[in-house]
Structures are given as C-alpha cells and as structure tokens.
Point group: C3
Chain length 388, copies 3
C-alpha cells in the first residue's frame, strides 16, 4: 500500500490532469474501451439461468450463450463455426452438456467447445476438427461470473472488493444496461463531488442521511492505493480525507444550504474501487448495508450495471427479513430512486467522451484525485486489455 498525500494531488489536478498529460499517465486505461480481460466479471444473477435454460449476454464485446447443465452454468461463444449464426436465435439442446445449432445441426460440447457431432451428417470428417470458444464460469453471492481472456483464471477473490465474499452475508440486487462506456460508470461512482446531483433525492430525506453538497480535499487526509496482492484498488476514506460542504456559495453569498439536525445517519465513510471495475460504498444506503456496483463492459458504448446490497446475516430468518426489506424499501428508494441519477449522469457524459475526445479535453480538479488514482492503478495493473 502506498499512501499519497492529497496536497500533492491538488496541485497536479489543478494544473490540468487531463489531455495529453493524462494520456501518458494512464495509457492502458485509455485503451480499455472494451474493458479489462483476464478478469472475472458478473453477467447475470444466478436465478436468471435455471437448469436447461438458455440466456445470452455480451461481455467485453463478445456475445456469449449461457446455459445450466447438471447445475453447472456453462458459457460458450454464441456463434456457430460453420456459417456464423447465433445459437441463441433458436437454442437447441438434444443431450445434456451440448448445444446444437438450429441451422445444420452442428453440435458442440459445452465443456470444451469442440464440435462433437453433426445431426445432419453423421460421422462427418469435420467432427473434432473445429471448435468455438468457451469461457470459465463461477457463481458466488447469487451472481454468475465469467472469465474472458487468454490466461488461466485466478481465484474470484482477486476481482471483487474485500468483504464481498464474506460467508456470513447475503447479497441482493438488480442489474440494467446503461448507455455509456463502463469507465464513466466507475468514475461517476467513485467521484466524491458528484453527490451534488443527489441533493434532492428522496433517499436523503426518507432515510435521514447527512449528504453534503461536495467536499474540499483536506491536507490531513490520505488515500490508500492497494497495488500489492489482490484485489487491487483505491480506498478513499471520505470521513477523513475531506471537509464536507453543507453550504454552497456564489460570490460569497450562500445559495444552497443543507439544514442538519445532528441526528442524521452517517453513511459512505469509505468508498473504494477495485479492479476490474467494482465500487464498494461502506456503508450505504444505510449503516446496516454495504453497496457494491459492478460496471461490466458490454460494448464500447454500453455497460451492464450491477447494484448489489450486502447485509450481515446469521440465520434463514435474517435472510427472509432482509429480502422483504430489500423489496419494500431499498430497491425503489436507493437502487432506483438514488442511483437512477447516476445512470442519467453517465449517459450524459457519453457523447463528450466518445465524440469529442473527452479523455483529452476534460478538465479535472483537486477532488478528482480519487479518479486519477484509480486510472493510474488500473492502467498499471489490469491483467489485460480486451480487444474490440
């Protein structure tokens, strides 16, 4: 762990962290339009793919067919080697552990992707001569993770925030497709001052949160960069690193004020972001919950946004009670009511970063030091860059 004094960063950012300077500081991050390969990414919730069901996802630009066979989820490229059609257009399974193409009956083993039979031409010499890519799959905390890349898959714990796999916890969440590059997702989530846009969110009032308009970096503060071992991430201790702003001024005159009673709940004491692109907000949206957000690259202009709330549980009753609370309160008030603003903000940035070379033309300022730390870590340590 290296400790970086925020005072250093302030100067750096104020003199223009973006542009050609930025390009030279985080080159691999700029290349990672389609995300980081050789990492685990969630693609579905476990309950979305039942035994013998099929589902399709696009991950790092690759279209993948998923199916569960004898309990194990399998992932195979969604394209027949013969004439290139999608299996998913009419997925067929005539025997466990296989998928057959609807067009000419070419049949592949899900385990290794090899062409093992052709229904329309028995004993064809092509059998065993071609295959389609398959992808490692694992399931934890109700999520299906897929590994895309050319390396041997490492343990899932490398690619999720600390605490996410804790066994005495239960995770519930939602997912949706957002029309922006995945990096705008990570950066919006980790950005300390974007909370300005949440100031009127019903969550703040209804859950009695103390949410400032923004933050001034404090000299006493420090940001932890975890670049040794796995997972690798950047941890921002909001409560320590910044001075919260509860009164906003223009030309010295107050124009916005947040009236505090002093009994507000304290949340988001620590916000961190981890490779390959996962946010942890601890606690949030309530002192009893931790929020994780996965910004999973689909294409260059879209990502799948997984929002997961984790609670410590000790019994089946705890889980049942948490599920009920999640459905009645957190799904609508927090994951939608609050985070819908974030979805909107990410999509609002997409045009600039895509069409106007935002990576070179943005102007960052001192509170964005958390973002520049993340970009540097990701550029230096991501296991691979996904090809388009």
């Amino acid at each position: 762990m290296s400790v970086v004094t925020s005072a250093d960063e302030r100067v750096d950012a104020a003199t223009g962290a973006g542009g050609s300077v930025g390009a030279s500081k985080w080159p691999r991050y700029l290349q990672a339009e389609y995300g980081f390969s050789n990492h685990w990414h969630p693609v579905l919730f476990s309950h979305e793919v039942a035994e013998d069901d099929f589902a399709t996802v696009t991950l790092l630009g690759r279209r993948i067919l998923l199916t569960r066979s004898d309990g194990q989820v399998r992932a195979i490229a969604d394209r027949c080697a013969h004439r290139g059609v999608k299996f998913s257009a009419q997925p067929l399974c005539f025997a466990k552990g296989t998928v057959s193409c609807w067009y000419h009956g070419w049949t592949y083993r899900l385990e290794d992707g090899e062409l093992c039979d052709v229904l329309t031409s028995p004993n064809s010499p092509i059998i065993g001569q071609v295959s389609v890519p398959v992808y490692p799959v694992t399931e934890r905390q109700g999520l299906v993770f897929v590994f895309v890349g050319d390396a041997e898959p490492h343990d899932l714990s490398h690619d999720v925030p600390p605490g996410f796999l804790d066994s005495d916890t239960h995770c519930l969440g939602i997912r949706r497709t957002v029309a922006s590059n995945w990096r705008l997702g990570v950066e919006n989530g980790f950005d300390t001052t974007h909370i300005f846009m949440h100031r009127n969110s019903p969550l703040v009032q209804q859950n009695n949160l103390a949410l400032p308009f923004g933050f001034v970096p404090a000299d006493r503060g420090a940001m932890s960069v975890h670049s040794e071992g796995w997972p690798k991430g950047v941890v921002d201790n909001l409560a320590q690193n910044y001075q919260p702003v509860f009164e906003a001024r223009l030309g010295g005159e107050p124009v916005l004020r947040c009236e505090l009673t002093g009994d507000e709940k304290l949340v988001a004491a620590q916000v961190s972001v981890w490779l390959p692109g996962v946010l942890k907000v601890d606690p949030f949206p309530d002192p009893s919950l931790i929020q994780y957000e996965f910004y999973v690259p689909i294409t260059a202009t879209s990502h799948e946004y997984f929002q997961v709330l984790q609670r410590r549980v000790r019994s089946a009753d705890d889980i049942a009670s948490y599920k009920s609370e999640f459905e009645s309160k957190w799904r609508d008030l927090a994951l939608h009511g609050f985070n819908d603003d974030d979805v909107w903000a990410r999509e609002a940035q997409e045009e600039f970063y895509r069409d106007h070379d935002g990576w070179a033309n943005e102007h960052l300022f001192p509170p964005d030091m958390c973002i520049t730390k993340w970009r540097q870590l990701a550029s230096n340590h991501a296991s691979g860059i996904a090809a388009p």
Copy 2:
C-alpha cells in the same frame, strides 16, 4: 459439362474451404456484393405496373423508375440530371413515352433517357445535351426483367433455369425484401443440409413429404456443372448424390427420428442453381410443381426474394384451377409456411458475413460442396460485377 466426384470435394471441404483459400478460389464472387451485372434480373410481377402507372425498384444498388407506356414497360434511372432529385418523389407524365421532373420540369424520353424538353424554359440550350440512364426491359412468365450493365443484352433464356420459359406452363408467385446479401439467399436455397431447420414445417406433414434431417455425401454421387453455353449452373441430383438421414444421433444415441410410412411423396429429386442467382427445385413443394427462386440484389445488405411456382397447363381451365389452388394452398403453406424459415435463416447469417468477414471465417463441410461448386462457377463465368 464437367463431372466432379464428391469424394474429392469431401476432403477439400473438410480441410477448410473458406478463408484465404476460398478467397483465391472464387474472387469475383466475393467482389459481387451488389450482384452480377450484364444479366437479366426480375424486379416486379407484370401485374404490378399497369399502363401509365409508376413503380420504383432498387436493382444492383441502382434506383430505377418503371412505367408502362403503350403496353411496354420502360426503366429509367430515378434521378434527374439537374439537381439530383428522384422523379419518383412525385412522378409526372404529361405525354406518353416521357417523364417530367416535378422540380423544374425537365422532361426525358423513356426510350433513350435524353432530355427532350424543359417545361419551365422552352427551347433551352440544355435540351439534347444531357440524359439519364435507361435500362432494357423484357417480360416473361408474368415477371418484369431488367438488364443492368454496359453490354448488349442477350436473350433472357441465358439467365433463367432450363424449363422456366416453357410455353405450356403457368407461373404464380410472390416477392418480398429480405435483409441479407443476395448470396446468402442463393446459398441457403442450394444448401442440402439446411433442411434440418424445416423438420417441423407444417408443409411436411400436411403435404405428406419425405423430408430427411440431412444428407451424407455418397461416393457414387455426382454433381453436374454446366459451364458451357447458357444458362450456366450447377445441378445437384439429391436422390442420387446423397444418403438421406432420417435418424439423427448424438454420441451414438438417437435423439431425433423421422417416422416414415413409405407412402410419402418424393420431392426435390433435383436442385439446381443458375447464373445470375436463381434456384430451381424440381419438383417442389409437390410432385406437380417446380419452384424457382430469384435472389435479386437490392443493396449490399438486402435482396428481393421472388418465389415462383410453375405448373404444366393445357387450357385456360387448367390455369384457373391452378390459380385457385395456389391461393388456397401453396401461397400460405409453402411459399410462406415453409420458406419463411429460409428468410429467417438468411437474415440470421447477415451479421456474420457483413461484420465479421464470414467469407474468410466460415468453416464449410463436405455437404457444402454444392455451395463451393456454385461459387466457383459464378466467379468464373458471371458476365460482370456490379459496382456499388
């Protein structure tokens, strides 16, 4: 006619007929994204353009205005030479044998495309100085054919399958636009093993057809390539060249079986494909009918699909009775019910061939030898390649 032993082809295809190998084997076919020029192509049914009516089509990427004047269908490029607008936006005819542009009244002779008058500026010096392209037109068997190219048009019989123009026959059909390159149309139609996807078609049951799941190339079989004289085509005698597959297996276990009673009608004894891209299935969908399919290039990503059923007739009564049967039975059960699957399959291939260089990345197998024979014939003998 050259005769090719299927055994040779099997090895060839199994070792990978596609990719750079394929590119060098049928180079002009790969260039023919917009189809083959200097050939006749059907564009409409005759009844679709009545005297003085206008119609527009796009053929080999060219937008063409059609009109019937004194019984003769005329075809002229649908673009005024002056400011480039489409005549068809508001087609005007103030005198037989002419078309006037709605914008400034420039008026062209349909026979030769020459600017013969300007309604807004009589005796203008521009008259006789500019012209727009016109295209030869002929009508046979209820279809309007247009010739695009720079050569003198040859006889229509060069560009339709043998038997199509037989005088004691009557043709009825439909047409529709399909969102795939025209070559995927030809290849899907001529492909022997794609019939796997038709296995549940209502036509098979209701017309009591013997339709196998696929075919194994048989050593005794032979495919005829007609490359001398016109028309030029490839003839595949299904009944002779292949072993039909009525039981499909995976890992040795039967997974699909077609129960035959032995009294099924035999159809598709011979399937052939002809330049510039016409299929003949003899007989189909009934022993009393022959099906012709024209896959007419519109743009690089769409083609007009003409489906025509031909029956031998001896009298006006025969024709009336055939029309009635066509309307009540064959249109819905065969041309839609059965061939809708083919339309779907062609569109399902388009993405791969367009966006992922399918021509280089496909993997063909021995039953696809009919396709490779067609590609070679077309590449060697097509009269011209349409420019985009």
Copy 3:
C-alpha cells in the same frame, strides 16, 4: 456593383457549370458545409426566451445555451469544461448572470464564460483557470441573433437584407428545422424556375397571384451583384430579366396552361439573396408584404428555416391588425401552404448532394445563373468558414 449580362451566363451554364468547373469557381462555398462564421445568424424569436428561461440551439454545429438575464440574452457553449456534460440537460441558475452545472456545481459567468465558483468545492484552485466559449447576442425585429467566429462582431446591418431593419416596419414569422444542408435552402429559394412546383399551391388561387411555370432568361435582363460594402448580395429583377412562361409545351404541344384574367396581383418583382444566407422576396406573398427567409446552418445535414413577413406600419393599431391578419391568413396559406413545398424540395435534394457528390455531378442550365452568381459572391466574400 458589377453588372453581368445574362447572355454570357447562358452559354456558361449550358456547357456545364457544375462539376470540377464549379469546384474551382466557388471553392469556399463548397467548404462551407457548416455555414459561414464571423456573421450574425438568427437562432430564436425573442419571445421564445423569457427572463431566466433557458433555451438551446445548434448553430454552425455548435450547441449553445441561451438565457435571458436582466433583459439581455446571453449565449454560452452548452458544455461544462469539467466532464463535458450539457448544462441544458438540467440547467441551473443560482444567481443572475451565471449558469451552474448540474453535475458538480461548476459555475460560470455568462458574460465572459469564466469559471467563477464551484458549489461543491469552495475556493477551489481551479476557479478562474478555465472557461467555456460565449457568443455575442443581439436582438432586432423580434429575432435573437448570435455571432459565431473569432472576429470582432460587426454591425447586424451587414448581415441582413436592405430594408429588414427599417424602423417603420413590423416582422412576424415562424421557424422550423429542415433536413437538408443550408445551401440547398438558399438555392431553392433564389432559384427562378423552381416555381413550377408551386403551380397548384392554394396561395396562387386564393390570393389571385400571377405565377408562371418558369422563366426564359431575356437578353435585355441584368442581375446586380452587390459585392462592395455591406450587406453583400445578388439581386435578380424577375420582372425585367426574364420572359415568364405561362404555357408549357412538350414536343411543341401545349401540356399545361395558366389561364390569366389580367387582374392578377403582381408579386416577386425582385428576389435577392444576401450573406450569410438570407433571401428577400419583394413583395411576397402579397403586394403589401416582403418575405425574408434565413437558412441557418445547424449541422451539415440540417438547417433552421426562419420565415419572416415584414409590413410597413404606422401605429400600434396597424401592428395589431397585421398580427391578426398574419395569424388568420399568411401563416397557413403562405408560410406553410406555399413554402411547405420548398421544405420538401430541399429535403428531396439532400441525398444527392450529400451521398452522390451532387456539387460535382449536378447539371445547371441558364436560369440557374442566379445560383451561380450567389455561389461566387459567397465564396469570394464570406467572412469565414465554420469548422465542423
């Protein structure tokens, strides 16, 4: 003012004014896909932006936020310097003369575009270090004009037709977006023979106008090119320069005839076009009115079409009566009923000029001499070419 004999032009146009010849004759006009910079362009009607209201427009490819503050309309680039989002997605004003970004509270002075405060981070060192472009604004005749460019703005009178700013007049009008390049707007309006397409317009009958089918250039005629001083434009005296065509013939036979009683109102005695792209038709659509049309570049493929009718007035009663007449008659019958044809014609040309290099492939004829004069004037004298 230079006087050009139309006889010279006739030969020139008949031998092909377009193509590479044209390209060398008006090179800067061909470059001006996004319009002419360093000129005033109307963007809104004054009543469309009230005090503290926000509006957005796109002018010469630049998205601009407009707001009225203490009576003065201000124009600022609609993009925050920080992360590139549009202010207009959720425009915020917490103090007169400023705009705040909804995302992180960056706040800019509307007068000079400078970052003057950051609501989320008081006293940030970035304050005063960045700015966004602002644009000069002026209002006259009920229109808001904006100046885009790098030059000092000149007087508005340079960029509107003579008479437009006359103080004893009142202007009323409408605007709409047209899906064509702005140059097709100017040229369609100034084109003498396009009136062929208006021959069946209800305005002609209902307002008893003498509208010929077209014009033959007359040797006695002359066209005035105003290239000294400002405004600069081309004036075509229709009544003097051309022989009107009231009977159209094909092959010598009359096919269209306009029956005149002799008591028709005479309109459009003089049509002129002025930099940066404004038409004046005097009088039109009635002897009591002058029509101005501004074809304001939005993108390369769209323009904002301002149609303004001007009447001499002497009192508030005159204005009230004109407003009532405008609403009940001229808006629907003339600005829509008649000019909708023009909108349609411009959009009908867009494909040819955009996708088929119409500027090189068009064929002009003698009556188009007004267009070639305009192109030359614009190419030689426009103050600047807008970059994409």
